[in-house]
């Protein structure tokens, strides 16, 4: 166990160091790179916490897609960095914020140190019905069976966020396409990456979705992997960014939640309750919902990363 303890300590020191650097470093871009690095470190921490499902999510969404969005934003906002240096807070605010933050952190640390013993756990309850559901991965069971409504609402949050992003476009470009590609200025290396990686990535994404029923993986992780491949192809200019008023975009966005809702509503008629699965059909239904969700997740995540429309539909 000692080697494991060493690894955990190295990881803990690294996470704290990188987090401190993100807050303390002066240039915006260094902070963003630090954030991408932190996502990678946290993915390893999640593995050490025996939460491989979460590690996959963190690697795909927390580090990968979020990192790309933030790097793009940091590069675009480079010019704004100096403007805000003038608004640096005074020493009084710094000290106050420091004391407040230290108090909050100390309180949480106390919670960790003096946690309830024995620890409360819903694990036995989660395992109890796995055989009936036919799903081997307890986290997938929680996401899509026990707490299916949370996952449904999460999809709605994603859609609302996308609507919010779209609403930020100036009126004249409403319905147009976001701007992602820059044309082939880099001499083709990006285009090569955009050609070679997506086929591999899509296979990996579908694999992650498929093993989600029994092993760590699932709709959001697989969807995020495929979405990043789509964004990569968009960045390389190999695919045109879709106009947000395109009918297929709208249909793809609602497909996942629609299937989820339809199954949920059907639950009223047959097993007798919203989002309850008829006995014996739980696994096929869960896999069907996951497949539909993955499809919508790809489109939502991709469009969220692409940002608001940039030029009008006419052009």
């Amino acid at each position: 166990m000692s080697a494991g303890w060493v690894l955990n300590s190295v990881l803990a020191v690294l996470v704290l160091g990188v987090a401190g650097a993100i807050i303390a470093v002066r240039t915006l871009f260094a902070a963003v790179v630090g954030f991408v690095v932190l996502g990678l470190l946290l993915a390893i921490v999640w593995v050490r916490l025996a939460a491989v499902d979460v590690a996959l999510t963190e690697a795909a969404i927390g580090s990968g897609v979020t990192g790309a969005v933030l790097i793009a934003a940091a590069s675009r906002l480079r010019a704004t960095e100096k403007v805000s240096v003038a608004e640096q807070p005074g020493p009084a605010l710094r000290v106050g914020a420091g004391i407040l933050s230290a108090l909050v952190a100390a309180g949480l640390a106390a919670l960790v140190v003096f946690a309830a013993d024995p620890a409360p756990s819903l694990a036995p309850a989660a395992v109890a019905h796995l055989v009936e559901l036919g799903v081997g991965n307890p986290v997938t069971a929680v996401l899509l069976a026990y707490r299916g409504i949370d996952t449904l609402l999460e999809k709605m949050v994603l859609l609302l966020a996308l609507l919010g992003v779209w609403s930020l476009a100036p009126d004249m470009v409403w319905g147009g396409a976001p701007e992602v590609s820059a044309g082939a200025v880099d001499g083709g290396a990006l285009a090569l990456l955009g050609r070679v990686l997506p086929p591999v990535g899509i296979v990996v994404g579908v694999y992650v979705l498929w093993v989600g029923a029994t092993d760590p993986g699932g709709a959001f992780q697989g969807g995020a992997v495929i979405a990043s491949m789509w964004i990569l192809a968009l960045m390389a200019g190999l695919l045109p960014a879709p106009a947000i008023r395109a009918r297929w975009v709208r249909r793809a966005l609602v497909a996942g939640p629609a299937v989820f809702l339809a199954v949920g509503m059907a639950g009223f008629a047959w097993p007798g309750g919203f989002l309850s699965y008829p006995a014996g059909y739980a696994k096929p239904l869960i896999v069907a919902i996951e497949a539909a969700l993955t499809f919508s997740v790809v489109i939502v995540l991709g469009l969220l990363a692409a940002g608001p429309p940039h030029h009008g539909p006419g052009r």
């Binding site: 990881l11 260094a30 790179v33 990678l40 580090s63 820059a182």
Partner: protein
């Protein structure tokens, strides 16, 4: 043997973490991306070592996803790297 593999994972992480000093020092953003790229490979190596060292093959999938997406952040960086771009001049 398991102890050795986990220990090796710790050493790899500690070593590539030193490279993170480049993120702080720069000087250029390209140097920062290089450090992140090195930490990416180190992280993949550490995850593979942990997967073998704890007999948890599913961890390999995390390394697979990381390997796939390692290029992604760098691509976003290159796409927006500073330098004269006709469309940048037009937009800003």
């Amino acid at each position: 043997m398991h102890e050795f593999l986990i220990g090796a994972a710790s050493v790899v992480m500690a070593i590539v973490a030193l490279g993170l000093l480049r993120v702080l020092r720069g000087p250029g953003d390209a140097d920062r991306m290089m450090a992140a790229q090195l930490l990416g490979s180190g992280g993949i190596a550490a995850l593979l070592l942990v997967a073998a060292g704890t007999d948890r093959p599913a961890v390999t999938d995390v390394a697979l996803v990381l390997a796939l997406l390692a290029a992604f952040a760098s691509a976003a960086f290159v796409r927006h790297a500073p330098g004269p771009r006709p469309e940048d001049i037009k937009n800003t």
